[in-house]
């Protein structure tokens, strides 16, 4: 055995740091301890090395334990799938570890013979994150938020849809369009118009192989860190680059030189000849989609509803029950039976434009208790600079502990919100019995200036409260962010434009 040179730890450091690092791997550190350890790792190469070696031990222990417990033979080629669930006992499954495939020469043979590493898991690669007047040629329908898997087709007759890939790449498709999800880094488009924001989805300029590509029957359009739009129609590609650069490789004109287009260029490309011709009138063609690229739709970071009266200190909808995917709203003569919803959005990871307009979107669910709701819902926001009064939770309110009595900005003794720290945004009339308001119907609330509802921690907290309703029995049931079928609350955020 040998050791590699490197910084070493004093014995007392060693024991203390081993303990801390093992706790880190067990997720047993609190936030302060974790942050302190991370800060020390920044400055201490010996600690980083220690962490890495202990991580290696973790794998050794798993391999050792699994082998001793009768794990599938690491050299076996059956089944040769790195993420397959392996039945271990009735009702239990265990993921087949990757080491079982890569631990031997036979494992490598498996990789190459079966191409296992090319067969990615069949999980969702992208999500439809927004629809605008979408008319689908088939499923999916408006209001749902389907996860898209490899090979899934998107056939849109009219309208627009936003598809966000797992890698963070956002695409806007404008009908009529016919497309197919190829991977988390590529989309195949046989006809139609689309705009793409690769933006900063990769932490730095990605090398080839990690770049996003649009594949058409005749060409491959590869992003080089960019925002761009294109339309594909019978061997002709209209392309406008808003930011960065794009490379177009003609598949029809074999051996032709790739065409590189940079920001500000608008060209029509004949894929048969691989010739690009400047076309100034294209910018207007894509202007609407370009604006879409400078908006981002984000789901709620937290959402929950609370009840007054005897439930004022109870946390509703928690505990994994059926109400986790629902926000219930209601008002009565007495505030004690009211239900209100709190929704928080976290914009801290978004390059938002505070002076731009935002839009809040929420959707109603199947009527609760099969009773239709007709009434007016008030939409409020916590005023910027909000400071919680005693008893109230702060800006980082927790949906696991939110109650009527501690919800920030709640008017605990009134039928409607009159809290001085809440600003009214809109009143929305909802009638779930109306034919044009089926479950999944989206209600959009414009917020003229994002800054007017933005807190200093880059969060936005919105509050929904029924102002009036027919009868006092029915609840209004809204889709929460955990709803598996209907998209939960969303905020369409304006992004900084160059």
């Amino acid at each position: 055995m040998s050791t590699t040179p490197g910084p070493s730890l004093e014995p007392s450091d060693f024991a203390r740091d081993t303990e801390l690092l093992l706790a880190m791997f067990d997720d047993a550190l609190d936030d302060a301890e974790f942050d302190a350890l991370a800060a020390r790792m920044r400055d201490d190469p010996a600690l980083r090395r220690h962490a890495l070696l202990l991580a290696g031990d973790e794998e050794t222990l798993r391999v050792w334990a699994a082998t001793a417990a009768g794990s599938p033979d690491a050299a076996s080629c059956e089944p040769c799938c790195p993420t397959a669930d392996v039945a271990t006992s009735p009702g239990k499954t265990r993921r087949r570890p990757l080491w079982a495939m890569l631990a031997s020469a036979a494992g490598v043979a498996c990789i190459l013979a079966v191409g296992v590493l090319s067969s990615r898991p069949a999980g969702p690669l992208a999500t439809i994150t927004r629809t605008v007047n979408a008319q689908w040629a088939g499923e999916p329908s408006d209001g749902v938020r389907p996860q898209l898997v490899r090979g899934q087709r998107i056939e849109l007759d009219a309208g627009q849809v936003e598809i966000t890939f797992a890698t963070g790449v956002r695409t806007w498709l404008q009908g009529p369009v016919s497309a197919r999800i190829q991977s988390d880094r590529s989309i195949e488009v046989t006809r139609g118009t689309l705009a793409i924001d690769v933006g900063d989805s990769d932490p730095e300029s990605a090398p080839a192989g990690e770049q996003f590509a649009v594949v058409t029957p005749d060409a491959r359009i590869v992003d080089l860190g960019t925002r761009f739009a294109l339309s594909i129609d019978d061997g002709k590609i209209d392309l406008v680059v808003f930011e960065g650069a794009v490379r177009t490789e003609s598949l029809a004109a074999r051996g032709s030189k790739p065409i590189e287009s940079v920001a500000g260029e608008a060209v029509r490309i004949d894929t048969a000849t691989a010739v690009a011709t400047p076309s100034a009138d294209l910018e207007a063609k894509f202007s609407e989609l370009e604006q879409r690229l400078y908006q981002q739709t984000i789901p709620a970071a937290a959402d929950h509803y609370v009840r007054g009266g005897p439930h004022r200190n109870a946390v509703d909808g928690s505990g994994g029950g059926p109400r986790d995917d629902t926000l219930l709203l209601k008002t009565q003569r007495q505030y004690s039976a009211c239900r209100r919803a709190w929704i928080r959005f976290d914009l801290s990871k978004i390059d938002y434009e505070p002076a731009g307009p935002a839009t809040f979107v929420f959707r109603h669910n199947e009527p609760a208790d099969r009773r239709d709701f007709h009434g007016v819902v008030g939409v409020f926001a916590l005023r910027p600079g909000y400071l919680p009064i005693p008893q109230e939770q702060g800006l980082d309110w927790d949906e696991e502990t939110l109650t009527w009595n501690n919800a920030p900005g709640n008017d605990r003794h009134g039928r409607v919100i009159k809290h001085e720290h809440c600003v009214p945004l809109a009143e929305v009339e909802i009638d779930t019995s109306a034919a044009d308001q089926p479950p999944g119907t989206a209600y959009e609330v414009p917020i003229p200036v994002l800054r007017d509802v933005l807190q200093e921690d880059s969060s936005v907290t919105l509050i929904l409260c029924v102002l009036s309703q027919d009868g006092h029995g029915p609840n209004l049931s809204l889709a929460a962010s955990d709803n598996p079928e209907i998209a939960g609350p969303e905020l369409i955020v304006p992004l900084v434009q160059p």
Binding site: G56, W64, R94, R95, P97, A206
Partner: protein, 176 residues
């Protein structure tokens, strides 16, 4: 790098050389063995797909850890509210893991296996139960052992500390 069949074998062999260091790096960054395996799979796939872009084969490890670092940061961004190591620490860890290299991880594995043999039977059984994949969390092990979760953490910690000291002793003895 070549992309014919021989070349593919060569790439796979290079991936294997760096695999242990790579996995340790990913696990340190994300602290979840299933997620680390998923990321390792992604990194491996990207490496196989884009090997043609590697201009200097001598920098294979550097290139591979670059892919891994980007996948970790991408995951951290997507994970949002989860606790993540800062980006600069993720980068420093990549350099450190590359520098340590697979050889040292393999030496350490050998030492750890010897240390496991030296454990009392009861301790060895507890470690086996913890790591054989049949439980997802220490709570389940605590139930199996009939102990409280806190006591089970304590037992595991003592055994792991003992193993870590044993490894250090063995590698220290073998050091030049």
């Amino acid at each position: 790098m070549p992309q014919n069949e021989d070349g593919q074998h060569e790439i796979a062999a290079r991936l294997m050389q760096d695999r242990r260091a790579l996995y340790s790096y990913l696990l340190t960054c994300v602290r979840d063995s299933h997620l680390a395996e998923d990321l390792l799979q992604e990194v491996t796939q990207i490496a196989l797909e884009s090997i043609g872009d590697l201009r200097d084969p001598d920098r294979f490890s550097n290139w591979l850890f670059g892919i891994a670092r980007r996948r970790v940061l991408l995951h951290a961004r997507k994970a949002g509210r989860e606790r993540n190591l800062p980006a600069d620490v993720v980068e420093l860890l990549a350099s450190e893991a590359e520098e340590i290299g697979n050889r040292h991880f393999l030496d350490r594995e050998e030492a750890l296996r010897e240390c496991l043999e030296g454990l009392p039977e009861r301790s060895r059984r507890i470690i086996m139960q913890r790591y054989d994949g049949s439980i997802n969390h220490v709570d389940e092990l605590a139930k199996q052992l009939g102990r409280t979760v806190q006591a089970t953490y304590g037992v595991l910690k003592r055994i792991r500390m003992k193993l870590a000291a044993c490894i250090q002793g063995k590698l220290g003895e073998a050091a030049p």
